[in-house]
């Protein structure tokens, strides 16, 4: 069979059109239908209050619960470490507020730190693939299947909340929770405010695990929520709020 130039161009044009057509037409039927189960916990803006004075010394309940639920590996070295929630001394959490005459009780205090689920998150702004994104309810999420592992979000996060899978994590997970995905090497991960639990009507794992009720989780926009009343009545600080990120973790001091 011989094809002349004209026919070839026709076929090529038609083929090109089939490639482009779905992209033009798809918005018509591809509108996402978000189904929220009736038992799901919903909010306009999720936030968390932390009252570190309630924490028992050396308690790691929230960390253990979170890391077990989310298949966070333990490599046993700080270089490759992955952590979603952990504790830091006051001087590291609030470097600008630390001074020589700070009381012992505050200086010795170790506070839980985690992703701040900023209202204006720099990590989302810098991500070149939208692998990290913000939900309408404020939760900053990760798509582990889209992340290319460039780590620009790690450089952009002013809280050190993000971890990179520097190596294959699966062999280092003590017990795999089949209800939550494990990650591959080469992607970044962080706290997701337990969105997978919220949708089932459950509070975040760390909040549930805390016997001292040091962590309070709720809707910041709801004036009658427990967290809102707590924040309105007690003095609180947010980490590096001067950066304009509008962090949603409130520390009651």
């Amino acid at each position: 069979m011989t094809t002349n130039r004209r026919e070839f161009l026709k076929i090529a044009g038609a083929s090109a059109l089939t490639l482009v057509a779905p992209a033009i037409l798809c918005p018509a039927w591809a509108k996402e239908n978000v189904i929220t189960p009736s038992r799901a916990l919903t909010a306009q803006r999720w936030g968390m209050a932390v009252d570190p004075s309630k924490c028992r010394a050396d308690c790691t309940d929230c960390i253990t619960a979170c890391h077990a639920v989310h298949n966070v590996p333990n490599f046993g070295n700080p270089k490759d470490e992955i952590k979603w929630i952990w504790t830091e001394p006051f001087a590291s959490v609030f470097p600008a507020e630390d001074h020589t005459y700070q009381g012992q009780s505050l200086q010795k205090l170790r506070m839980p730190v985690l992703c701040n689920h900023c209202t204006n998150p720099p990590c989302v702004r810098v991500c070149p693939t939208k692998a990290t994104f913000q939900r309408p309810d404020g939760i900053v999420m990760m798509d582990y299947h889209r992340c290319i592992g460039c780590r620009l979000c790690m450089a952009a996060c002013p809280y050190g909340a993000r971890s990179m899978n520097y190596r294959e994590p699966r062999p280092f997970i003590a017990k795999i929770n089949p209800d939550f995905p494990t990650r591959t090497k080469g992607v970044v991960e962080k706290c997701n405010f337990c969105e997978e639990r919220l949708v089932k009507g459950l509070l975040p794992a760390c909040v549930e695990a805390c016997k001292e009720k040091a962590l309070v989780f709720g809707d910041m926009e709801n004036t009658r929520s427990a967290i809102r009343r707590l924040i309105e009545s007690r003095f609180n600080l947010r980490r590096r709020a001067n950066l304009g990120t509008n962090p949603q973790i409130y520390y009651i001091l």
Partner: protein, 392 residues
């Protein structure tokens, strides 16, 4: 024209073989990195960018510096650069290719690199960097190649090349500005959060790139039967001197703001760089070497008697290149992470694997550059040869 790269003397082939071995070694170690993950490098949770991204940043500058030849020649009709603008463009091409490779080897999931185009994110500076770098690559390949082909046939370049060349001038500025914006727009990293980052990048680029080009011209003169001409090299050396002075000035300006304001967030990074912080001083000897070399080179380039002697000029240009490589290819990226946002100090030590991969990418870049320069010289020599025959 490509076939010209296949004919060469013994020295040429030994050099190519050497580069091939280094590149192959790098590739071997890259396969290991691919298998194990980026944990095989010295990068950590706290220092999450290292040698790769630092090389990328430095080489974007080398690539941008081609504009220092193109601008005087095409905008000011500075004839002395006519012979070597193509050399600058080919240097830009190989530098951009190295940049792309360094980004690639730094990715945790390299197989997903096309996600950047599949899910374009205009708020991400890295997305824009990909656009400007690929654009710059295309512009320089086209202009360099077309001009060389026309030189060979001894015909004037086609009309459409001129607008492309004019476009390449602001484009060169854009690639380094956008690269600086990757750093200068991050709220939590005070070391990078400075409006002078882009000007500083450009100044150091316009010193290191032309310095490298002078070194290449002197090598070509000695081993390649190609003379760029005294006038061109001297003009380039003046560009290096001015750009180096500006670059040093910009760094001093940064030091003033950090240390006079005494805001810890700003000062602590520079303290780590030049004095060490809480017993950690990995980069201190490097930075003082860089500073010493920069001031020595500046003194040498300012004095005309020294600048005009080729041997001394080569020494000065090597000093400029090494000094700025340390400043940008080592200090600038790593120090942004030290101390961390939680005020922790984690030192960074590149591993052997990481260094081998880095050298491998440099070898690939140098190989591409060698091939381009070989073609360029063969074409030039052919022209001279036919002219010589015609005259007799």
């Amino acid at each position: 024209m490509l076939e010209k790269a296949l004919k060469g003397g013994r020295g040429y082939w030994v050099w190519i073989a050497f580069l091939l071995i280094v590149a192959a070694t790098g590739f071997f170690f890259y396969l290991r990195q691919l298998d194990y993950g980026l944990g095989i490098t010295g990068m950590s949770r706290d220092v999450s960018w290292g040698l790769y991204i630092a090389q990328f940043t430095f080489l974007v500058g080398v690539a941008a510096s081609a504009v220092m030849l193109v601008l005087p020649y095409y905008l000011h009709d500075y004839k002395a650069f006519g012979k070597i603008t193509v050399l600058g463009e080919f240097l830009a091409v190989s530098a951009v290719i190295m940049c792309v490779l360094f980004i690639f080897v730094d990715l945790g999931q390299p197989s997903r690199v096309m996600n950047v185009l599949l899910h374009p994110s205009p708020t991400s500076i890295l997305f824009w960097d990909m656009i400007v770098l690929s654009g710059y690559l295309v512009i320089n390949i086209f202009t360099g190649w077309v001009i060389l082909s026309c030189n060979r046939k001894e015909i004037p370049p086609p009309g459409w090349v001129k607008p492309l060349i004019y476009l390449s001038i602001p484009w060169a500025v854009s690639i380094h500005t956008v690269t600086a914006f990757i750093y200068a727009g991050l709220p939590g990293r005070s070391f990078w959060l400075t409006a002078i980052m882009a000007p500083r990048f450009l100044a150091s680029a316009f010193a290191s790139g032309p310095a490298l080009l002078i070194i290449f011209c002197l090598i070509l003169k000695r081993y390649g039967r190609f003379d760029a001409g005294e006038k061109a090299i001297q003009a380039l050396s003046k560009i290096v001197a001015y750009a180096l002075a500006t670059s040093i000035f910009f760094v001093l300006v940064e030091l003033f703001t950090a240390f006079y304001s005494q805001i810890p967030e700003h000062a602590r990074h520079f303290q780590y760089l030049f004095a060490g912080l809480e017993g950690h001083h990995n980069l201190v000897p490097w930075m003082w070497t860089s500073a010493g070399l920069a001031f020595t080179a500046l003194a040498m380039l300012i004095v005309p008697q020294i600048r005009r002697r080729e041997g001394w000029l080569a020494v000065a240009c090597t000093a400029v290149f090494v000094s700025l490589w340390i400043e940008k290819g080592l200090g600038l990226v790593i120090t942004g992470f030290i101390p961390s946002p939680l005020d922790a100090i984690t030192e960074y030590h590149p591993t052997g694997t990481e260094i081998a991969i880095t050298l491998g990418v440099w070898a690939i870049g140098l190989m591409i550059l060698t091939l381009f320069y070989k073609i360029f010289i063969s074409v030039q020599n052919d022209i001279e040869g036919t002219r010589f025959k015609n005259n007799n």
